[in-house]
Each structure stands twice: as structure tokens, then as C-alpha cells.
């Protein structure tokens, strides 16, 4: 029962560096050698011959699942009342484990069934109307429009739809008109002779017998059509609400490469992807997340390429989220990521269809949430977070150089202030004498110790940054630059900080901005303060200890079963697009750590024209 209560923060911090899966009986045994794995391997061999080259991680992952099953038995003993459901789900997610929660009826339907007496569609107009009215709180709710109709054969019927969510032209021209003019086309007054589907002229129709499904379709913007005597309700596709068009990317700007970004509309987003990957194997699966909001979420992957274990894992996590509503990709990310306490993101955010498509083609899974222009891509590794969408568009030398710069920026953004602090408070002998004397001279009138200076300036910089985002429009940018300049200059001349520090802080800030991933940059900002602390307390010794801890954290991090530091630890086959980006025609293999079913990206010789004689 202790699991139900939220754990205290320190224990949670401890879990940050914890490693969940080692709690197995023989602690000496690395998972690679476990018997279960060899079994697993045999199974997978049977299942799929191409899965032979499994890296340990996936075996581990499946092994973890075996254990999770055992643990799930424990979990199932927890009484799950309606009101506790929320906390419970959170706890399970927090533990970051691949635990399988026993299947339960969807809470969403439970809530609704409390109001709608029976799920079955009635066979008469009045009771169906009654049910719908009740469900949508008519007459208080003015959004549901119910249009009563009387067919030419005198049968009563109705149309129900949500105002604003539908395309009225479709309703008028292709539903109402055929229904009311039905007699002109059909001979007899016998409605049963002609199915309702055949009368209505919309492109997609569904006959639904469950009233709850009808309600959710209406909520999506479809129109429900009912004619007296039927035992089903016909749903016609009439979605047509206002939406933003496809615009240029706002946050991931590139010079070369496509200039379109995802929008809030799920359909549009999937279309954007399909336009890039014209492959019949591109599969889109839908999920509903949020018990009150029923937000639609799609996962997109390339069947036959992606590792089925990853897809299964993604689906499992998405299906087992119990939360009232989800509006942004960030919320969803928090709900499904492996280790929510990690400072580094284990899910890649992007607003670019081209990048998403490229990831899918590498064997990753894209998760698209309706209502957000941000797409989540899993699994990712650290080096994927250091790539930018422009990398593929530039020449390989340039990209390689840029990536080097980014990795330098990564190191600088984390380490530099802490390093400076350790250097100037512990290891004076390392600083060249001239510089040392210059620093001392500049510091002569500054009353504060270096740690205070560093914290002051870091705080100032964060303030400028935050304010720059909040202040609307162009003013924001200007203010950021001017603020930084003036603040720095003034702080120096007022003898509050020493000038070297301004350089340090500015360099750190720049490096932070050079990181291509927004969430990663955030993590780095927080880490920087940890390193400042470590450097201030124990100098280089402290920094080194902190670095070991950071490494430990990184190597234990996983993104949907794939270790975050793949390629380095654990070692996998090195691709040709990691830090160095080799020419495109040399990248024959897909990333090894993702275990795609088809690891060959292109034939050994991609530029086949080089084999031919020029004409």
C-alpha cells in the first residue's frame, strides 16, 4: 500500500540514479547471459528469422517484461476505485517500469454509462433523441443541433451534430437533400428496401449500434443520422471545423530543406507524413487518450521495418494511460517516458514532417497527438538529440563540423561555469600568470566571492532569456540582446562581477542555444547548476565525481527499451551518421541499436552510375 502515496522527493531523486531491472536473484549475472534470454532468443528465432541479430537490450526489455508480469500480479491486488484511479496511474507511471496493469474497462465508458442507461441504440426516434439530449445536456447546451426530419415516406428521423465542428455544406447538400428527395429517386415508400447508407452521399459512413460510439463520433464533428425503426445510427463524415493551415516551422528553422511544419490537425499531420513516405507499409494506429477529453492520438510507423517490440511497447504505454485530459505533446511525453526524473529527454520532439519521416524510415515510431503541432519520436538516443533537421540537407563535411561544434557546445554548456569556478577557487596554478593577475586586478573592487558572481550572472541570464520569451513580438529579441549587453556592462562597471565572468556566462548561454533540442537544452541548464555546486564545493574533484554520476545516469537511461547512450554504452555497431556524418551514399545501414527488421538502407553501391561508363 505504500506505493499509493507519493514518495518523498529525496527518495524520488534517488530513483533518478536507480536502475530498476537489476533486482534479480543472481546479481552477478549480466542480463545478456540470463537463461530466459536464451529462451527468448529461441522464440524470436522461430518468430522471425530476421530478428536474429538482437542486441542485448531488446532481450533485456523482453526479460523485463517477464518480470513485469510477475510484478503485475502484485499491482493487481491494489483496489482501484474510481477516485483512486488517477493517482494509481500516476504512481505506476512514475515508477517508470514496464508494468502491465490488468486490463480494466475503460473508465471513460464507465462515466458515460452512468448517464446513458443502456448502450444499445433504441429502435424508435423519441427514445434515441432522449438519450442524445441527455448525453449532451440539451437544452442547456446549445452546441448540439438536432434537426428533425420527416422523410417522404412519413417516417420520422433526425440529424444530430455539433455546431461549428461540421461542414454545413455537406450536411445540406449531401445528407439532407438526398434524404428529403428520396422519393424522387426510389420507387416505393419502403425505407427498409434501400439502406440509409445508399441514400446519403458522404464519402465515409458507419453504422453504429452503440450509443457511446455515436456520441464520440458526434464529438469528433461527424453527423449522426437516424430514421425511425432502425436499430443503428448512421454516422456520416462531415468534419469541417476551422483549423490552421500548414505553415513554416517556428522553432526548427533551417536554411536548406523543406519549409513546412506540422499543424494542430491530426489528419493534416498524417497527410504531411504520407506525402513524404508514399509506402503502403506506413501504418497509422489510433488511440484515445484522456478520459474526459478523448483526445485522439496516432502512432505512425513503417511496418516491416520497425522493431515490433518497440511498437508493442509504445502501444502498451499509450493504452494504459489513465488521465482526464491531455492537450499537449509535452503532457503525453511526461506520461509515457521511461524515466520522468531524468534531466535529459528520452523522447524527441519535432515540428518538422521531414524529420519525422526520416526517423520513421530509420525504424522509429512517431506519436502524433491531435491538437499539437509537435510530434513525438521514439526511441531516441543522445546523438539523435544532437542532430538537427538540416544535417541531411547540408554537405557531409559541413554537417560533421557542425556536429562537432554542437558536442563542444554541449560540454561547454554543462561544464564551463563549474570549471571556471573550480579553477578560480581551487586550482590557481593552472591559470597562466598574466591572466591570473588580470583576473585578480579585475576582481580587486568586486566584493563578492566567485560563486556569488557566477550565480548572479547565471540568474541574470536566465531572467533575460525568460523575459525575452514572454515579451511579445520583435521587442522580445531586442530586449534580450540589449538587456544582456547593458546588464553585463553595467554589472562590470558597477564592480558587481568581474569581466571574465561575463565572457564565461555569455559563452555558456550561447552554447546552450546551440543545442538543437529544446528539452535537452533545458536539462543542460539545470545540470549546469549541479556542476557549479560541485565545482564550488570540491573543485575539480567534485566536478569529476559529478561527471561520473552524470555518466552513470546517462548510461542507465533508456528510451523505450533502447539505452540512451547506445553506440557508446552498450556498444553497438557504429553507424555512419552519429557524430561524423559520412556521405549519404555510404550510409548503407540503419541504426543498429534500433534493431530494425530490415537493417539495410540501401545497396552497398548507392550511386550505381559510378559503376557505369559515362556515355
Amino acid at each position: 500500500m505504500s506505493e499509493k502515496k507519493p514518495k518523498n522527493i529525496i527518495w524520488q531523486m534517488l530513483e533518478l540514479i536507480s536502475y530498476k531491472k537489476t533486482s534479480r536473484p543472481k546479481t552477478f549475472i549480466l542480463p545478456e547471459m540470463d537463461e530466459q534470454q536464451s529462451k527468448q532468443r529461441q522464440e524470436s528465432n522461430k518468430r522471425q528469422e530476421s530478428e536474429q541479430q538482437q542486441i542485448p537490450e531488446n532481450r533485456q526489455q523482453s526479460k523485463g517484461r517477464n518480470q513485469a508480469d510477475e510484478q503485475a500480479k502484485d499491482t493487481s491486488q491494489i483496489p482501484g476505485g474510481q477516485e483512486q484511479k488517477h493517482t494509481q496511474a500516476m504512481v505506476v507511471e512514475r515508477a517508470g517500469q514496464r508494468r502491465r496493469i490488468p486490463k480494466k474497462p475503460l473508465a471513460a465508458s464507465e462515466v458515460k454509462s452512468a448517464r446513458v442507461e443502456k448502450d444499445q441504440v433504441k429502435t424508435d426516434v423519441n427514445s434515441n433523441l432522449q438519450v442524445l439530449r441527455q448525453a449532451f445536456h440539451v437544452p442547456e447546451n446549445k452546441d448540439l443541433i438536432i434537426r428533425d426530419i420527416i422523410l417522404p415516406n412519413k417516417k420520422r428521423g433526425f440529424l444530430a451534430f455539433l455546431d461549428g465542428m461540421v461542414n454545413k455544406i455537406i450536411i445540406n447538400e449531401y445528407i439532407l437533400r438526398p434524404l428529403l428527395e428520396q422519393e424522387a429517386t426510389s420507387q416505393s415508400g419502403n425505407t427498409k428496401g434501400i439502406a440509409l447508407e445508399d441514400i446519403v452521399l458522404t464519402n465515409d459512413t458507419q453504422s453504429l449500434k452503440n450509443i457511446n460510439e455515436v456520441i464520440s463520433e458526434i464529438l469528433k464533428g461527424n453527423t449522426a443520422v437516424y430514421v425511425d425503426g432502425l436499430d443503428y445510427i448512421l454516422i456520416c463524415e462531415t468534419i469541417g471545423f476551422e483549423k490552421r493551415g500548414v505553415e513554416t516551422p517556428k522553432t526548427e528553422i533551417v536554411v536548406k530543406g523543406p519549409q513546412e511544419a506540422f499543424s494542430e490537425n491530426l489528419r493534416t499531420n498524417i497527410t504531411l507524413l504520407r506525402r513524404i513516405i508514399r509506402n503502403r507499409d506506413l501504418v497509422t494506429e489510433f488511440f484515445e487518450i484522456g478520459e474526459k477529453s478523448s483526445t485522439v492520438c496516432a502512432i505512425v510507423y513503417l511496418q516491416g521495418l520497425v522493431n515490433p517490440l518497440v511498437v508493442r511497447e509504445v502501444k502498451r504505454r499509450l493504452e494504459n494511460i489513465k488521465i482526464d485530459f491531455v492537450v499537449s505533446a509535452g503532457m503525453l511525453e511526461e506520461l509515457i517516458e521511461d524515466n520522468p526524473y531524468s534531466l535529459f529527454p528520452t523522447i524527441l520532439n519535432t515540428e518538422r514532417p521531414d524529420r519525422t519521416a526520416a526517423s520513421i524510415m530509420e525504424g522509429r515510431v512517431a506519436i502524433i497527438l491531435d491538437g499539437t503541432p509537435i510530434v513525438l519520436i521514439v526511441p531516441v538516443t543522445l546523438n539523435a538529440l544532437m542532430h538537427s533537421s538540416e544535417d541531411a540537407a547540408l554537405k557531409w563535411h559541413n554537417t560533421t563540423a557542425l556536429r562537432m561544434v554542437r558536442f563542444c557546445a554541449f560540454a561547454i554548456a554543462i561544464l564551463l561555469p563549474g570549471f571556471y569556478l573550480a579553477l578560480t577557487t581551487y586550482h590557481h596554478e593552472m591559470i597562466p600568470t598574466e591572466l591570473l593577475i588580470a583576473i585578480a586586478k579585475a576582481k580587486e573592487n568586486v566584493p563578492f566571492p566567485t560563486i556569488i558572481e557566477v550565480l548572479l550572472m547565471e540568474l541574470g541570464f536566465e531572467l533575460i532569456r525568460e523575459a525575452g520569451i514572454r515579451i511579445p513580438g520583435i521587442v522580445g529579441n531586442t530586449l534580450g540582446i540589449i538587456g544582456a549587453l547593458i546588464l553585463g556592462e553595467a554589472a562590470v562597471s558597477a564592480n558587481i562581477v568581474s569581466p571574465v565572468l561575463i565572457i564565461i556566462v555569455a559563452l555558456t548561454g550561447l552554447s546552450n542555444f546551440a543545442l538543437p533540442n529544446y528539452s535537452l537544452a533545458f536539462g543542460v541548464r539545470i545540470l549546469r547548476f549541479c556542476f557549479i555546486f560541485a565545482g564550488a564545493v570540491l573543485g575539480f574533484f567534485g566536478l569529476a565525481l559529478a561527471a561520473v554520476l552524470l555518466t552513470l545516469m546517462l548510461v542507465n537511461l533508456k528510451s523505450f527499451g533502447v539505452p540512451f547512450m547506445s553506440i557508446v554504452a552498450p556498444r553497438t555497431k557504429r553507424g555512419k551518421d552519429i557524430v561524423l556524418r559520412w556521405p549519404l551514399w555510404m550510409q548503407e545501414k540503419r541504426p543498429d541499436f534500433l534493431n530494425p527488421l530490415d537493417s539495410q538502407r540501401q545497396p552497398e553501391i548507392a550511386r550505381q552510375w559510378t559503376q557505369q561508363d559515362p556515355e
Binding site: 518523498n8 529525496i10 564545493v537
Partner: protein, 431 residues
């Protein structure tokens, strides 16, 4: 999963640890401006058993570069202020103790972590420096990369003239002045670490840089002396005939035996010494022209790697052969004699040069053997190869028997270039 109570306990322990750690910030942390950095240490003889230690520490005043002590009234000797540094002298029983004593006067902690050089007065060096080197190599703050110098006269006076004339930065000036050794070969470049290792070494004896203050009185007044032209005067530091600029100058090598100074090599001998040890980089040599007295040949000499030294023992008498190859670029032949007309003239010149170098080196070796019995050439390392074990070698006592060694020097000079001229025409004599 641990029960909640235990996890809370763990959390508390971690928190306490974190607090403890964060409270330690003051143990070893030192702000830069809490300390002052000693650039130069000078060691003089004090009264009785005491030593007088002079520290030159840099100050943090803005614009300290161009003033100099005299600006504030009073000379550097009175105020101790000199070009952005402060010079203070203290008498104390030991070197480290002197820092402590000075700490109570200077308002900030004195740090030795940036010290560039340590200067012993010659008087002191002749009595033995081991006692004062020891704390420097044991004390953690001291860098092993400071230079070791011995100065004629008092170290205190020497430091009072230690100022930067070129730029505002004294430490840079000091560092760069040692690098000049590679350009001239007039003095060696000796690190404290090297000095210390050689003090302990059974293979060789220590050396140091010889230095002094030049009072600018060696420059002969116009027309004072005439006639004698000596291309290689035996100069001590402080005797370079010059005027203006920096008063301190380094010239020659101090030879130690054990930890005591026993003599010195002048600038030319130093070059031969450096040549023989393979530390010589490049420099100009001025030779008498064999064909016309009073004229000089100036050579730019580059050593072709370290000399080859072979040794063997016969009846416990060490024989040492030293062979080396020199690369010669003729920089000037004052009488414009053409040595490249025929091979014999050319070979003759080479022969002449070779003899010059052999004689020079042999003379230096003879001096170290006969006068001081101090193997500063590290021949001992080669001799050690003739013994199997350390006890045998130590019993042989090479450092004592250096005197007995028969040393043979062989030089091959190769005149590879002759500057811009190949066939110079003599200047037409006045008609």
C-alpha cells in the same frame, strides 16, 4: 520497494550528507584576490644562521605597468614598489617560515604557485643550496617549473632591478627571457625539477643559470682602449659591454658539485657545454679568420641532434667518445674570401671549424674534470651502462672518478649553406 519509513530515513541521510558537503566550501577554496602571487624568490645570507628571503609579488593595482617605484617618491629599494610588483625582504630561519612571517605583514596570503624563478646569491650557492631546495620540492604549492639562478652579488639587489621594459607584464618578460637561451646558447635553461633530480643523481652534477645586474659601466668609453680584438672575451654576467634597457642579464652556467657551487662556465664555454649535451639549439659563433688576422668569420651553427656518446671501462678507467655533427651556415666572412672556389679551400675551412669546436669542447671538459671534478655532462648515464646493478655502480662512485675519465671529442662540421652569396667579389681596394 522499500517501505516509506526507510526511504524517508535514507532521504534524510542523503540530505545531511549533502548539507555537510555544501558546508565544506571553505576548506580549500581560495579566491584569486585572496592571494598574492610571488613571481621571484631570492635567497641571501642573513645574520647568523638566518636566511634573508626576498619576494617579488605582483600587485593588483590598475595601470601598474609603467610607473615604477620612483614615481611614488623614494626609490624601489625604499618602498619596494616596482612595475606592478612589490618587493619585500624578510629574515627567517627557513624559506617556508619566511612566507609565514611575511604573511603577517602583507595583507593577503602569499602563494608560491606562480613563482617563475628562484635566485641564490653566489655567496650562498658556494655554501650549499640543498637545504633550501628541499622544502621547495616537498611543499605542494611550489611549481617544479621555476628556474634556478645564481646571481653575482646579493639576490635582493638583483630583484630590485627585476622589471619589465618591453611590456607591462613582468611574468611574461621573465618567461620569455629564459626562452632566449635557445636562440643564443649563452646560458642554459634550468628548471627546479631538473636541478633537484641532478642534486640527487648518481649520474651527474647540477647546473644553474648564472646571472647578475649590469651597472652599465663595462661599456668602454669612446677611444679608451684600442688595438686588442678578442672575439671571445671571458665575460661574467653583468659585464656585457652595453648601455640602456634592462639591467639584469643572464650569461653563463653555474657548476655545482653536490649542492655547492664550485665554479662557472662563461658564455662561450656554456655554448660548448650545451653542444656537448645536445641541448644547444642554434646560435652565432665568431671565429678568427685563419687567412687574415683581425677579421672574423661568423657562423650560424645548428646541432644535428644530440651527440653520440659511447663509453667503455678498462681497468676501471672510463673511456668516453663523443661524436657530433654540426650544420653550419656561414653568416659572414669579413674579408670576403671565397672558400667555395675549390674543394681544398672548402675542406680546409671545415677542418678549421671542426678543430675550433673540438678544442672548445675539450677545454670545457678539461675544466670540469681538472678544476671541479663535476660531471655536468651526464656522462654518468652512459657509464652506468657498463655496470649491471645499481650497487655496483654506486660502489664505483662515478661522480668521484669523473676526473679519471679519458674523453675524446670528435666533431664533423658540415658547411651546408653560405648565406646569400656563393661567389662574393672582394671589395675593390681604395685606389
Amino acid at each position: 520497494m522499500a517501505p516509506k519509513k526507510l526511504s524517508f530515513l535514507k532521504g534524510a541521510i542523503v540530505l545531511v550528507c549533502a548539507c555537510c558537503l555544501s558546508l565544506t566550501g571553505c576548506y580549500d577554496a581560495k579566491e584569486i584576490d585572496q592571494e598574492v602571487f610571488t613571481l621571484v624568490i631570492g635567497v641571501d645570507k642573513g645574520t647568523g644562521n638566518m636566511i634573508r628571503v626576498t619576494f617579488q609579488v605582483s600587485t593588483y593595482k590598475e595601470d601598474g605597468g609603467n610607473g615604477g617605484g620612483s614615481q611614488n617618491g623614494g626609490s624601489a629599494a625604499d618602498t619596494g614598489e616596482l612595475d606592478g610588483t612589490v618587493i619585500s625582504t624578510v629574515e627567517a630561519p627557513s624559506l617556508i617560515e619566511s612566507i609565514n612571517m611575511l604573511n603577517s605583514a602583507s595583507n593577503r596570503q602569499i602563494s608560491l604557485s606562480q613563482t617563475k624563478m628562484i635566485i641564490f646569491s653566489e655567496e650562498y650557492a658556494r655554501e650549499g643550496v640543498g637545504r633550501y631546495i628541499e622544502p621547495l620540492t616537498r611543499f605542494r604549492e611550489v611549481g617544479e617549473l621555476m628556474r634556478v639562478l645564481v646571481c653575482r652579488g646579493r639576490a635582493e639587489d638583483y630583484i630590485l632591478e627585476n622589471r619589465s621594459f618591453i611590456g607591462g607584464s613582468l611574468p611574461k618578460d621573465i618567461e620569455l627571457s629564459f626562452l632566449q637561451s635557445a636562440n643564443t646558447g649563452y646560458y642554459p635553461d634550468v628548471f627546479l625539477n631538473e636541478f633537484y633530480v641532478r642534486l640527487l643523481s648518481p649520474y651527474a652534477q647540477a647546473i644553474a643559470i648564472y646571472t647578475a645586474i649590469n651597472d652599465f659601466d663595462s661599456l668602454p668609453e669612446d677611444g679608451m682602449e684600442k688595438g686588442i680584438i678578442e672575439p671571445h672575451p671571458d665575460l661574467k654576467p653583468g659585464e656585457i659591454p652595453r648601455k640602456g634597457g634592462n639591467k639584469r642579464e643572464m650569461l653563463g652556467t653555474v657548476v655545482f658539485s653536490g649542492d655547492k657551487m664550485v665554479g662557472y662556465l662563461n658564455q662561450n664555454e656554456t655554448r660548448f657545454y650545451l653542444l656537448a649535451t645536445g641541448k644547444y639549439k642554434r646560435g652565432l659563433f665568431t671565429l678568427d679568420d685563419p687567412k687574415s688576422a683581425g677579421d672574423f668569420i661568423v657562423l650560424e651553427v645548428t646541432a644535428h641532434g644530440a651527440p653520440k656518446v659511447t663509453t667503455f671501462l678498462e681497468n676501471e678507467i672510463p673511456y668516453i667518445y663523443l661524436e657530433m655533427l654540426l650544420d653550419i651556415d656561414i653568416a659572414a666572412i669579413q674579408n670576403r674570401e671565397n672558400y667555395f672556389l675549390n674543394p681544398s679551400a672548402y675542406l680546409e675551412l671545415e677542418k678549421y671549424i671542426e678543430t675550433y669546436f673540438v678544442r672548445g669542447m675539450e677545454e670545457v671538459i678539461r675544466k670540469t674534470q681538472q678544476e671541479w671534478n663535476s660531471d655536468i655532462f651526464e656522462f654518468g648515464k652512459k657509464i652506468a651502462g657498463n655496470f649491471w646493478t645499481i650497487p655496483q655502480f654506486e660502489e664505483y662512485n662515478w661522480l668521484e672518478r669523473y676526473r679519471e675519465a679519458k674523453i675524446d671529442v670528435k666533431v664533423k662540421a658540415n658547411i651546408s649553406r653560405a648565406g646569400y652569396y656563393f661567389h662574393p667579389r672582394p671589395i675593390e681596394p681604395e685606389k
